[in-house]
């Protein structure tokens, strides 16, 4: 039964390669997208931290996004 599952009556190479290519491409795109998002979050958080205390307060009060990104970035470091 297991050999049937692996070899799929002679079509195993075609079936498994189709699923494997799809799986690895999806995984690679997922990691690349996540990495880019983290990079932008990090850069954005660093720029907020670089601001003067007064400017930072204005930005964080005005933008929920800025405070959310900054808090999630602080958790990761």
């Amino acid at each position: 039964m297991i050999s049937n599952f692996i070899f799929m009556n002679g079509y195993g190479l075609f079936v498994w390669s189709s699923f494997a290519i799809t799986f690895f491409v999806c995984l690679a795109v997922f990691y690349k997208t996540k990495k880019t998002l983290k990079k932008y979050e990090k850069e954005f958080a660093t720029e907020i931290q670089k601001l003067s205390a007064e400017q930072r307060k204005i930005v964080l009060d005005k933008s929920k996004i800025a405070s959310q990104v900054l808090s999630s970035y602080s958790k990761t470091i």
Partner: protein, 235 residues
Amino acid sequence: MFGLFNNNNIFHWIEKIMNFINSIFFILLLVALSFALIFSPPDYLQGDSVRIMYVHVPAAWIGLGTFSCIAMLSIINFIFKIKHFNLIAKSIAPLGLMFTCLALITGSIWGQPTWGTFWVWDARITSMLILALFYFFFIISHKLISDDEKASRISSIIAIIGFINVPIIRYSVDWWNTLHQPSSIKISGSSTIHTSMLMPLLLMFFVLILYCALIFLMKYKTEIIRIKKKNLKRL
């Protein structure tokens, strides 16, 4: 109601939806793969090679659906200049290209045991390749043109012209004599696929749609942060 389209609210909902998808994704993926690779029966003519359909068909549907969506958003953006629609189109285009390429690759792998060749210049396959080229030009226009407004205008034109290709892909198997089989699943009229194969196919489609939603939300979130970062520099 317009408060819903505020970046702050969108960002908040993106987080919530991403967490929800993450919590159900792997269970659904395991169920869908089990049905596609184990529980679904082999085809009476194609044998086990029919299992390639469970990745090939959803990939092709997503490739076509995404381009139709981009074209619609581009038409609306072209007329009303809604920035969010441009951001959405820009965020989903790489996904569409990826799934169009996957449909071409898995279709080519399926072609070898079924037709005896990896590639033929057949109407359906050629029109899918043209779709991949339109995706490529759409993405490259955003990468090469630094002025956001100009890039949005040019990419919208590419998407609108490319949209002509969508019905050609859909009806290519009816209009020309091709090696590709006609559609087995019809929205209007009865489908010619058995439920034991239709269910895994729809399950795999649903899982890949969830994956697309996850990637789209991450890309959209990145775009919002990029804009916020630009605004921060103006301070």
